[in-house]
Symmetry: C2
C-alpha cells in the first residue's frame, strides 16, 4: 500500500469517527428541542395557575441526580453539572422572560422622585413594562407635586444620599395617607427614620444590591427594610420577587452595619491599593503577564472601581461619620498586623510564628465558608483561564 | 371537585411533565457518554499516528453547523453554542491530557531536589509522564548525591525559600559541568545569584505561577529568569510550552519587584481583611445574603487564602526584608488616604473633594485597563450569579 493510499485510508477512518460525533450531536440537539417544548408546557401550566416558576430545591435535586448518572456512565460529574446548569439557565430565562412582565398590582400609580437618575430610569422601565403607571418628579417639578401625588399608591425617593432626608421632608405632606412612602438610598437608618417621622402612612426602605447596567432583576438582591407595613403593602416586595429578584429583609441598623463593611471598607481598601499602584507607577500590563489568575481577578476589581463614578464612591464612603471610625479601626488593625510581623526583624522567628498562629485561628473561624470560597473562586479562575 | 382533589390533580400533571424532562435528560447523558467513547477512539487513533489533536477550524465548523441546526428546531443559537463549547472543551481537555505527555527531550535525566514536596511531586509526575528519567534528592539522600548527579541533564532545587541558597551551595559541586542548574523559588534574586556564584555551567530560574492542585499546565504561567543560558538549554522552557504552559521571561530583579506587590502585598492585605472580620466576629453568612456579587467574589478570595497553608503565606510575606518595607509604605499610604478623608469632619467638603480629584487622576492612569477590567469582572460576575 502506498503512502498516499495509507493517508487516504486514515483520513476516511477519521472522517467516519467524526461523522459519528456529528450524528450524536444531531440527536443531542433534537433532544434539547424536545426538552424545550416540555419546559414551555410547564410554563404555560404554572402561568395559568399563578404558581411560582423557579424552584431552587428542585434544581439542586436535578443537578444531584444528573451528576450521579454521569458518574455511572464514566463522565466527569462537574462537566455534567456545567452542561445541565447551562440547559436549566436557558429554560429558566425563557420562563422568566414570559412571566416577568406580569405585574403584581398592575395599574398602581408609582411616583419616582429623582426618576431621571440611572437607577430611577431602570425602575421606571421595569414598572412600566409590568403595567404600572409611572410618574416622575424631578427637581423642576415641585410646582406640580400635588398633581403628581394625587391617587398615588407608592412614592419612591431615589436621589443622592445627601438630598434624601430633605426630599422626604418636602414630599411627605403631599402624599395620600395610605400611599406607600419608600426610598432607594444605600444608607437606611437616616432615611427610614425621616420617613417615619414625617409621614404617618406605610413606610418601606429599599436598597437594590445591583447597578444600573443590570439587564434583568433575575437573581439580583433587593434589600427591603421594614418601616411601617400593613399586610396590603407587600406588593412591592412581591413585584421584585416576580421579576426574579431575591428579596432580603433586614432592619435598617443591621443593613447599615453590614454595608459599612461590604461597601465602605472594601471600596476604600480597593481605592488604597489602586492609589498605591498609581503612586509607584507600577506597570500594570507587565504585572498581568506574570501573575496568577487570582491577582488578575483582584486587579480587575480595582480597575472596575476606577472605571466608575467617583461621586458615587465618595458618597458611599462618606455616608456617615461612623464609616470613618470603621476605617480608622481598620487602619489600627493593619498597623497591628505589621508590628506583629516586624518582630521578625530582630533575628527571631517570633513574628512569623505569631502570623501562623493567628492565621490558623482565623482559618478555623472561617470554617466551612472556606470550602465554598475555594469552590467558587476555583470555578471562576477556570472561567477566567478558559476565556481570556 | 374539592380544592384538595384539584391540587392533587395539578401536582400529578406537573409531576408528569417533570418526569418527561427527567427522561429526556437521561437520554442526553447517555448520548454524551457515547460521544465521549467516540472521542476516545479519535484520540487513540491520532496518538498512534502522531497527528495533532486540536483543530480550531474543525471546531469552528462544528459550532456553525450546530447553531444552524438549533435555529431550525427553534433553539437560541447562542445557547446551543455555549452548550457545545462546553462539550468540546471537555473532550479537548481529555484529549490534551492524553497527548501532552510528549517530551521535548525524553530520556533526559532530571534531579528534583526536594521532590517530595507538593510542587516537586507535581513536576515529578509531569516529567515522568513525558518520558524523562526523574530522580529525587531529599534531606536524607545526601550520601547518594554523587550517584544521583551522575550524567545529569538538569537539577531543579524545589525547597523552602529559607533553605534554597544553602541547598544550592551544597549541590553545585556535584553537578556535571553542562548540567542545567535551576530552582523553583518564588523569590529569584538570591537564588539566581547563588547559582551563578556556585556553579559555572548553565543556570535558569523558574517560578510556576500556579499551585500544586493544577490538573494540567494548560494556559498556566511559568516565569523563566535567565541566569547563564546556551542555545541548547532551551528545552526546559520548550517543555513547559509543550505542556500548554505560557512561558514568561523576566530578569530576577524585575520578577521580585512585581511579586512583592502581586504576592506579598496582596496576600497581606487579604490577611488583614480576614483578620478584621474575625476580630469583629462579622456574620459572614448574613453579609453574603445581602451583598453584591463583587463582595462575594472578594470574600471568596479571603476564604480561599485562609483555606491554604499558613507556612506558605508566611514564607511569601517574609521572603525578604524589602517586603516588610513595602508593607510599611503601604500602611503610610493607607493612613494618608484616611487623613485626606477625615478633613471632611470639619464641616467642609475638602476631604470629599480631594478624594474625587485623586480618584479621577488614578482612573486616568488606569486608562484602557479599566475597560478590560469591567469586561472581565462583568463576565465573571454573571458566571457567579448564574451558578451560585
Amino acid at each position: 500500500m502506498s503512502t498516499t493510499e495509507k493517508n487516504n485510508q486514515e483520513q476516511m477512518q477519521l472522517n467516519r469517527l467524526r461523522g459519528q460525533i456529528d450524528d450524536l450531536d444531531h440527536q443531542l440537539i433534537e433532544l434539547l428541542a424536545r426538552r424545550q417544548t416540555v419546559v414551555a408546557e410547564v410554563v404555560a401550566f404554572k402561568k395559568e395557575r399563578q404558581l411560582s416558576v423557579y424552584h431552587p430545591a428542585r434544581e439542586a435535586d436535578m443537578i444531584d441526580i444528573r451528576r450521579h448518572h454521569g458518574r455511572e456512565v464514566g463522565l466527569d460529574p462537574d462537566y455534567l453539572e456545567e452542561i445541565f446548569r447551562g440547559i436549566m439557565r436557558y429554560s429558566r430565562s425563557t420562563q422568566t422572560a414570559e412571566i416577568s412582565r406580569v405585574g403584581v398590582k398592575p395599574g398602581a400609580k408609582i411616583l419616582l422622585v429623582g426618576g431621571g437618575g440611572v437607577m430611577g430610569r431602570l425602575f421606571s422601565r421595569w414598572f412600566t413594562a409590568s403595567g404600572y403607571e409611572v410618574r416622575i418628579l424631578e427637581v423642576d417639578d415641585w410646582d406640580r407635586v400635588a398633581e403628581l401625588c394625587s391617587d398615588l399608591d407608592m412614592a419612591i425617593v431615589s436621589v443622592p444620599i445627601a438630598a434624601t432626608v430633605s426630599t422626604i421632608t418636602r414630599l411627605a405632606p403631599h402624599l395620600p395617607e395610605d400611599c406607600i412612602l419608600a426610598d432607594m438610598t444605600s444608607v437606611k437608618e437616616p432615611s427610614v427614620k425621616a420617613m417615619l417621622e414625617n409621614f404617618s402612612g406605610p413606610v418601606l426602605g429599599f436598597h437594590p444590591m445591583f447597578g444600573p447596567d443590570t439587564p434583568t432583576m433575575e437573581r439580583q438582591i433587593m434589600v427591603v427594610t421594614p418601616g411601617r407595613e400593613r399586610p396590603e403593602d407587600r406588593w412591592p416586595a412581591e413585584q421584585f420577587a416576580a421579576w426574579g429578584g431575591v428579596v432580603v429583609r433586614a432592619e435598617a441598623a443591621e443593613h447599615d452595619e453590614i454595608m459599612a463593611i461590604v461597601q465602605a471598607l472594601r471600596h476604600f481598601a480597593t481605592f488604597t491599593f489602586g492609589r498605591f499602584l498609581y503612586q509607584r507607577r507600577i506597570n500594570l500590563k507587565r504585572t498581568l503577564e506574570f501573575s496568577s489568575p487570582i491577582y488578575r481577578l483582584e486587579l480587575d476589581m480595582v480597575g472596575r472601581l476606577f472605571a466608575q463614578d467617583p461621586e458615587l464612591y465618595s458618597e458611599i464612603i462618606f455616608a456617615t461619620p461612623k464609616r470613618l471610625d470603621l476605617l480608622r479601626d481598620y487602619l489600627k488593625s493593619f498597623k497591628n498586623n505589621l508590628e506583629m510581623l516586624a518582630d521578625n526583624d530582630k533575628d527571631s522567628d517570633r513574628g512569623r510564628e505569631s502570623f501562623v498562629t493567628e492565621f490558623k485561628q482565623i482559618a478555623e473561624w472561617f470554617g466551612p465558608f472556606s470550602d465554598q470560597a475555594i469552590r467558587e473562586s476555583g470555578y471562576l479562575i477556570n472561567k477566567l483561564i478558559e476565556r481570556f
